[in-house]
């Protein structure tokens, strides 16, 4: 795996976002700048309510930043540049699981056969075989979230934006999905930007971990993780791992203390 | 041959009814065709039809005399070319038990009528005014077209009716009634054949043929009411061959018709009588020349 650091997939410059809420203006993102190299796996951690989801949504183009820019240098085509998995499953309640997962392909007008094949593949990947015909309401919280992940993966986007995608999964499924994610990332050479609330998960998965402060969020740390690939469970006990964990935990604590 | 017949629409008010028997007879017996006319009968609201004829969107209709004056007062160029009715067809009906035998007996009574407009209102006011009564002497109630129901359920003491219809209906159902006729007090203009000034001046011959055809149709109908009734069944829905009530309605309305056109002089009187009432009621603001409201050009 060769990566040139000049080959950027995403550049965020002085990004600012504020909301007009019921009592005045609320600054959420405060001059956030970072970039992500092509095929890198970057995790974001930060306190609850800090602005992590807001950052991802701004990158996905779902909200207009109050200031700053989001660029995709050298992106080939406008389509399928980013794929976003929301914090909530947000499945369409009138579509079965299968129909929910095939939706992006239908929107992209892929041929029928391809849609069926890809959809089935993704359902298998997230372990939902047998529930193809179930409606969202018939799924447990974790199953719905897995379906949402499958719906994103099926688009095969260049940059995967994941907002706490494993929040509702049980420990085992969570580990399995993490492994799968690494496999997919590795196989298909994706760029991944993922919000998580588990420091251990962030270190285990990422090339770099970004730390946001609480609101208004700014970037206080950009920690490279120097663990070799492929990652194995054994690495969790390496000193590098423990050290990264300590650093991140302290940074988080101090940034919360500083802002409150 | 058919192609030489001139197509015209004749507007009748309301819906198909035996009272319009002459027009059905005229079609079926070829009276219209003899005069080169292919007549299409249409039905609808009187005021709407007057507006359509006044604006020359259509040429002929049957309308009551007061409508001609009221609309002319508002600038509609409509004109009566042939009176159909001899008597103004409005009256006041009451149950025998109310002892309303003459107009003066209406004092202190409640009187139902469809509304404060149209022939029934004007007819009633003419009757009451002629008897020296004013609106303070009785209570008028707008009850829509529910006169029969309101009378027999005792909602009102008397109702304003069309002479040829409601009284027949009431009597046929076994109610004994007293009837006051407007025509007994005052001579007014009832239904007439109406056209507009433009047609009269530019298509005089057409108008003449229509007026003459109406004359012949009236005579033919009166001559053989049974046959006219039979013919009407083709046009009027829900008419049983032996329906005694509807047959009676036809006979009663024939009594109201005018067969022999009269000298113009007394026509002016009738129109002036009408105008006087409309002015009194405030329905017309200014006096117009009634001589322009009708034409006696086709009176033989």
């Amino acid at each position: 795996m060769t990566r040139s650091s000049n080959d950027l997939a995403l550049r965020v410059s002085s990004l600012e976002v504020s909301f007009v809420d019921s009592d005045g203006s609320l600054g959420v993102l405060d001059k956030i700048s970072f970039s992500v190299e092509r095929n890198a796996f970057v995790c974001i951690v930060g306190p609850s309510g800090g602005g992590k989801s807001t950052l991802l949504r701004a990158v996905a183009g779902l909200i207009q930043p109050t200031g700053g820019t989001v660029e995709f240098p050298g992106a080939e085509e406008e389509k399928s540049r980013t794929g976003l998995v929301f914090q909530k499953p947000n499945l369409l309640p009138w579509r079965t699981l299968q129909e929910n997962i095939s939706l992006p392909l239908e929107i992209a007008r892929r041929p029928e056969a391809e849609i069926a094949a890809f959809t089935q593949e993704m359902i298998r990947l997230v372990g939902l075989e047998g529930f193809e015909k179930s409606y969202p309401h018939e799924l447990s919280g974790g199953m719905a979230q897995r379906a949402a992940i499958a719906r994103c993966l099926v688009q095969d986007p260049e940059i995967l934006l994941l907002d706490e995608p494993f929040g509702q999964l049980d420990a085992l499924t969570r580990d399995r999905m993490g492994d799968e994610l690494l496999r997919i990332w590795n196989e298909r050479r994706k760029t991944v930007l993922m919000v998580t609330h588990s420091i251990a998960e962030a270190i285990f998965l990422a090339d770099r971990v970004l730390v946001l402060t609480s609101r208004p969020a700014h970037l206080t740390m950009d920690l490279p993780i120097r663990l070799s690939r492929p990652r194995t469970d054994a690495m969790r006990y390496l000193p590098e791992f423990t050290e990264a964990s300590r650093l991140l935990r302290e940074q988080l604590k101090s940034s919360i203390a500083a802002s409150s | 041959p058919e192609s030489t017949l001139e197509k015209v629409t004749l507007n009748l008010t309301y819906i198909p009814n035996v009272q319009f028997a002459p027009f059905y007879v005229a079609i079926e017996e070829g009276i219209f065709a003899n005069h080169g006319l292919d007549v299409n009968l249409a039905y609808g609201n009187e005021a709407d039809m007057v507006a359509l004829v006044g604006s020359d969107h259509q040429q002929f209709m049957i309308a009551s005399g007061e409508q001609v004056l009221l609309s002319r007062a508002q600038g509609l160029p409509v004109i009566s070319v042939r009176e159909w009715y001899q008597h103004y067809p409005i009256g006041v009906a009451s149950l025998k038990s109310s002892h309303i035998l003459e107009p003066a007996d209406l004092r202190g009574k409640s009187i139902g009528l469809p509304g404060l407009f149209g022939a029934s209102y004007i007819g009633f006011e003419a009757l009451a005014g002629h008897a020296g009564l004013s609106d303070d002497d009785y209570e008028l109630r707008s009850i829509g077209f529910t006169q029969v129901e309101a009378l027999v359920t005792g909602q009102v003491d008397a109702v304003v009716v069309y002479l040829a219809n409601e009284p027949v209906q009431l009597r046929a159902r076994g109610y004994e009634i007293n009837l006051l006729s407007v025509a007994d007090s005052l001579s007014l203009v009832g239904n007439c054949l109406v056209t507009n000034e433009k047609s009269l001046s530019e298509r005089t011959d057409l108008v003449r043929r229509m007026a003459v055809a109406l004359d012949e149709a009236l005579a033919a109908t009166a001559a053989d009411p049974d046959k006219a009734f039979e013919i009407s069944r083709k046009y009027v829905e829900n008419l049983e061959a032996d329906d005694p009530i509807q047959k009676q309605v036809l006979l009663e309305s024939i009594k109201l018709w005018r067969f022999e056109p009269e000298p113009a002089q007394s026509a002016v009187e009738r129109w002036e009588n009408m105008q006087g009432i409309l002015l009194d009621l405030g329905l017309m603001a200014v006096r117009i020349d009634v001589r322009e409201a009708f034409s006696d050009a086709f009176v033989e």
């Binding site: 949504r57 309640p93 929107i107 | 819906i15 359509l52």
Partner: protein
């Protein structure tokens, strides 16, 4: 635990009954006829004011046999169906358009609302001049009646499409047409169909209003005929046909809801 199993039994019972709902309609009809007959006997009104069920039944068979009923019924049905097609399509299209442009909505809505409250009788001559006295003007009135409730519910339904599902569609780069097809139509459907329920039953009144003003066929015309001849039984036959027609249209929309919203039993939880 007792309360729970009791209510379980009750639910089962209700399920049974509602399954045999073919029985329910005749039952309520019977109750209705009974009430009517009692009313007739109690009020002692002459039959030309309130005919008895038997008289109306006889009249019904008469006009059915003579073919008269069917002729007028089908005339009205035609007006209604055409009116529904035009009214509903216009309302759905305009509703979609307005939901995308709040300014246009604000500019147009006073007129749309106003158009609802123009009594047909008042503009009849204009209607006759512009659209003739025939089918067209009735279809138009009918469309206008259907139009409004469907429009309002289209607007409300589209406004209530959850914002986060809209975001999903945007994140999938769906075109407006695709968002319409995959998100907006299914999401707004329940409320839209609520409007259609109202519209479908109002459509009957719409067609009749036109017929009452001026016509020579249709159930409204039949009512005029009956009233003119003091044949109240005929009026009742026509009115009952109207009622049945309206109820059928309503029932049809309910069926449609059941079919199209089968996911709704499941929808509750998402």
């Amino acid at each position: 635990m007792k309360a729970r199993s009791l209510s379980a039994v009750r639910n089962l019972l209700l399920q049974r009954i509602s399954k045999n709902r073919l029985l329910l309609l005749p039952l309520s009809l019977l109750v209705f006829l009974l009430l009517w007959q009692i009313l007739v006997l109690a009020l002692k009104l002459p039959s030309f004011i309130l005919p008895s069920p038997a008289e109306v039944g006889k009249k019904f068979l008469d006009v059915l046999a003579s073919g008269m009923l069917w002729r007028h019924f089908s005339a009205t049905l035609k007006e209604i169906l055409l009116g529904l097609i035009f009214g509903v399509s216009a309302a759905a299209l305009l509703g979609y358009g307005l939901s995308k442009s709040p300014i246009a909505e604000r500019m147009l809505s006073p007129f749309l609302v106003g158009s609802q409250s123009i009594p047909m009788a008042a503009v009849a001559p204009l209607l006759v001049i512009w659209f003739g006295p025939g089918l067209l003007s009735k279809v138009l009135i009918c469309s206008l009646t259907v139009f409004f409730p469907v429009l309002v519910n289209t607007l409300v339904g589209l406004r209530d499409v959850p914002q986060d599902l809209r975001e999903v569609m945007r994140s999938l780069r769906s075109s407006p047409a695709q968002t319409l097809r995959y998100l907006e139509i299914p999401a707004a459907l329940p409320v839209f169909l609520g409007g259609l329920r109202v519209g479908a039953s109002l459509s009957v009144i719409g067609a009749i209003v036109g017929e009452l003003v001026a016509s020579d066929q249709g159930l409204g015309f039949l009512i005029n005929v009956g009233r003119g001849q003091y044949d109240t039984a005929l009026v009742f036959v026509a009115v009952i046909c109207l009622v049945v027609l309206a109820a059928s249209l309503y029932g049809f929309v309910l069926l449609l809801e059941k079919k199209l919203l089968s996911w709704q039993t499941w929808r509750k939880e998402n």
